[in-house]
């Protein structure tokens, strides 16, 4: 049997390794996507005071510490049974929208975008952010840097630091917003709306306007019919900070919505001996192996799945784009994974609109930003929607609020099974006997997982976080025939 190894997978956050096994005929027999790390947060957070969890769990992932900060703060609220003042919740959400704005911008322009802007088979040295800037113009490069800077400015203003914010505590936040800061955020938000619209236009021109790319998006290679989940508000519209998790089946039928306390009735995780990361699935449907369809409990939690699991967007411009998205792609749900890049830009627009809504909320500069917890702490769950999937923190404490047990189901982890399936399908579709396995082709295999924007720094919270990748081809005896790698 022949084996192809891709290690490390580049341009995603964290480490990973793909093994592709070919059969005697030269076709793909099977693929394995392995995560080589674990760090053990669920163990070593035990014994720590619960109010430190928003600071400790930040360090699960430096790419999305804001998501862990928020989920931890909400779980700590729940542990104490305390409801933060309305202004405090809005301030947390405002910080979170600044983060989403930066994060989605980074992914589109630096991580996922190069495949489309430069083309999947462009030379390796050009398939990066600098290649994108070179092609679309320095002016756009300046806008991208500005967009990232604005998002981080908002995070720093409200969270105290650009990376690993420190202001959320049980019952609220430690930092309010001055009128001058509010005005600054409003202006950045308005600029952000225009930037998001510009990005959607760019996507439309470069990708939707190119029949080759459109075929790639709509083709079978990158399509899987799975369940989808995502956080929604009371009107079933996409929400990143609060609400209930909507679950829909591959036909788009809503199976139900669960609140934080009910997550364990809906989600279960499977352990495989060949990787450190677990595979979550829908408990009520069950694990049926790496297979899609209604009978399989495998689900996805990404920008695309949030759109599929919701009935719409809560802001007007994003809602227009939501409608256009489903009209263009032939109705709900959309199963084509590469459409995730488009869905991410619609969320970028929502984040910018929501920024302005919150920055113009008259309560946002209120000094009432903390409620002192008075109940005895016990147990609580916090859920937010991280950019890379639904994020669940579950804590148990003693009567002093010292952690006795911790359970975490992290953004990218939700998507481990669907990513694995996407890699297998792309490999099976693209690699055949007598096919020349070149860099461009291997990159198209990598594109299968890049659409998910996987962050294995995050997913390996139980093991340490990195994520480069390597593809090796091995013969029927398991011996490496050739190792394919990309040159810089």
């Amino acid at each position: 049997m022949t084996r192809i190894t891709i290690d490390p997978i580049t341009r995603l956050e964290g480490h990973g390794k793909i093994e592709i096994f070919l059969d005697e005929a030269g076709d793909v027999a099977n693929t394995y996507f392995q995560i080589p790390e674990l760090r053990g947060f669920e163990r070593f957070c035990v014994g720590r005071p619960v109010e430190e969890m928003p600071l400790l769990t930040n360090r699960i992932c430096g790419v999305c510490p804001e998501a862990h900060h928020m989920a931890a703060a909400k779980a700590a609220d729940a542990v104490y049974g305390v409801e933060p003042p309305s202004a405090a919740k809005k301030l947390r959400e405002l910080l979170y929208m600044g983060f989403y704005f930066t994060d989605h911008t980074t992914h589109f322009y630096a991580l996922g975008g190069p495949d489309f802007v430069m083309g999947p088979d462009a030379p390796v040295a050009e398939r990066n952010i600098l290649g994108v800037i070179h092609k679309v113009g320095l002016e756009i490069g300046g806008k991208v840097i500005q967009a990232r800077k604005y998002g981080h400015t908002i995070v720093e203003m409200l969270g105290g630091r650009k990376v690993h914010p420190c202001t959320s505590i049980p019952g609220g936040v430690t930092k309010g917003l001055t009128e001058a800061e509010r005005v600054e955020i409003e202006q950045m938000g308005r600029w952000g709306i225009a930037f998001a619209q510009f990005s959607l236009q760019l996507f439309s021109d470069i990708v939707l306007g190119n029949p080759v790319y459109l075929d790639l998006i709509l083709g079978d290679i990158y399509t899987h019919r799975t369940h989808y989940i995502g956080l929604v508000d009371a009107q079933n519209r996409v929400n990143f900070y609060d609400g209930r998790v909507s679950v829909v089946d591959p036909d788009g039928k809503r199976l139900g919505k669960y609140g934080p306390d009910e997550y364990n009735d809906w989600i279960a995780e499977r352990v495989e001996p060949w990787t450190y990361l677990k595979f979550p699935y829908l408990k009520k449907v069950g694990w049926k192996g790496f297979t899609d369809g209604k009978e399989s409990g495998i689900y996805m939690a990404t920008p695309l799945s949030r759109l599929n699991a919701a009935d719409g967007m809560a802001t007007p411009l994003a809602q227009e784009q939501y409608q256009k998205f489903y009209e263009t792609l032939g109705g709900k749900p959309v199963h084509q994974r590469l459409a995730t890049h488009w869905a991410r830009l619609i969320e970028l627009l929502y984040a910018a609109e929501r920024l302005v809504e919150l920055a113009t909320d008259e309560e946002i500069t209120s000094p009432h930003i903390h409620t002192v917890p008075t109940k005895t702490p016990t147990e609580g769950v916090g859920i937010v929607e991280a950019p890379r999937g639904t994020l669940t923190h579950h804590y148990w404490t003693d009567e002093r609020g010292i952690l006795t047990k911790v359970n975490l189901i992290v953004g990218t982890t939700n998507n481990y099974a669907p990513i694995s399936m996407s890699i297998k399908k792309a490999a099976q579709s693209l690699i055949h006997k007598d096919t020349e396995v070149n860099e461009g082709l291997l990159n198209m295999v990598e594109m299968a997982f890049r659409a998910y924007d996987p962050c294995f720094g995050c997913a390996t919270h139980s093991l340490p976080g990195q994520m480069p990748l390597e593809v090796a081809i091995r013969d029927a005896a398991g011996e490496p025939v050739r190792v394919l790698r990309q040159h810089c």
Partner: protein, 338 residues
């Protein structure tokens, strides 16, 4: 990473790598904004997995000492981390331990308080895990198509200088962007013959005092009669020293350089910049500082107030357990010794 990827030969080579890390150090580097273009103009970026396509094999093929500068972040948690640390040491002229994990072990170093079995049990027997056969990841495992391997997980996390020789130490979780920019400016000045490198072993990108010296909060030498936890305080005085309000703050023991960011937004310093100059034992220094604000001379009374610290190990060794004299607790060390 010049626009065509074919940088002129004379440009010195730069690499950045993450071992057991969260990625925040990479984000902090990206956050230096336009300054990143200076890096591009002065260096040939040959290896940086988060940002560009290049594989391990490419590094292995490079001549020894061919990379001028490598920023290494993350702790040494498994055999792959150790392999990359040794490989990059061999290929680099200047190796910098970048960020708290590589310097001190950081938050993931708290795993050294537990045994590997405890770490695995928490992950693979959690309430949401369906694992009736108690499966654990295997370092090598035979699947029908062949043998699959994953890196060996070590019983304790080690810091970079516990594995290889390190030239410079740059702390912070993550290092602040203005400090990164200053270090890049210095290195570029050295390249142009306009400055000299600091002595080997120097701590770079930091101040030379404590976080308290950078903190804008007033210190009135006020004494406290008890310690409180931050969420228990109805209104934190925005201008007064947090420690003098009874909130445990790590400022007195922690190296300056961050600009006292956390105290400036009403949160206590948690010590991410590591021990201040001359501090041998971080925990002992912090304990002394706390004791000095307690309004009592009675040892029993002082002890009772210190009992208000709910998690001494996590408070005094939050970021530096792996690099401290303690290094690891008994359950983890027993696995190391065997």
């Amino acid at each position: 990473m010049s626009k065509n990827g074919q940088a002129p030969k004379e440009k010195p080579k730069f690499a950045m790598y993450w071992a057991a890390a969260c990625g925040g150090c990479e984000i902090a580097v990206l956050n230096i904004g336009e300054k990143i273009l200076d890096v591009d103009a002065n260096f040939d970026v040959v290896f940086w997995p988060v940002a560009m396509d290049a594989k391990y094999k490419d590094v292995e093929a490079m001549p020894d000492k061919s990379i001028l500068l490598t920023l290494f972040n993350g702790g040494i948690r498994n055999e792959e981390n150790e392999h990359m640390a040794k490989l990059l040491r061999q290929k680099s002229q200047i190796l910098v331990a970048f960020g708290s994990c590589a310097n001190e072990g950081c938050i993931p170093g708290l795993a050294n308080l537990s045994s590997m079995q405890e770490v695995f049990n928490a992950a693979y027997e959690s309430v949401s895990t369906e694992n009736p056969q108690h499966i654990r990841p295997q370092f090598s495992y035979q699947v029908p198509e062949g043998m699959l391997t994953i890196p060996l997980f070590y019983p304790v996390l080690r810091t970079l200088d516990q594995v290889v020789d390190v030239d410079y130490f740059m702390p912070g979780c993550p290092p602040e962007s203005h400090q990164i920019a200053a270090v890049i400016d210095l290195v570029i000045a050295v390249l142009h013959g306009e400055a000299e490198l600091p002595p080997k072993g120097a701590v770079i990108g930091v101040g030379d005092s404590t976080v308290c010296e950078e903190c804008q909060r007033a210190r009135n030498i006020k004494k406290i009669t008890k310690l409180v936890r931050i969420h228990e305080v109805a209104e934190v005085d925005p201008d007064l020293c947090l420690l003098e309000q009874g909130i445990l703050c790590n400022g007195p023991a922690t190296r300056s350089g961050c600009g006292a960011r956390c105290p400036s937004v009403g949160a206590a310093c948690i010590g991410c910049y590591g021990p201040a100059v001359g501090v041998v034992d971080y925990g002992a220094r912090l304990m002394t500082a706390v004791a000095s604000v307690i309004d009592s001379t009675e040892p029993d009374e002082i002890e009772a107030i210190l009992d208000g610290i709910p998690d001494p190990a996590g408070t005094f060794y939050r970021f530096n357990l792996a690099h401290s004299l303690l290094h690891a607790a008994r359950p983890a060390m027993e696995e190391v010794i065997g």
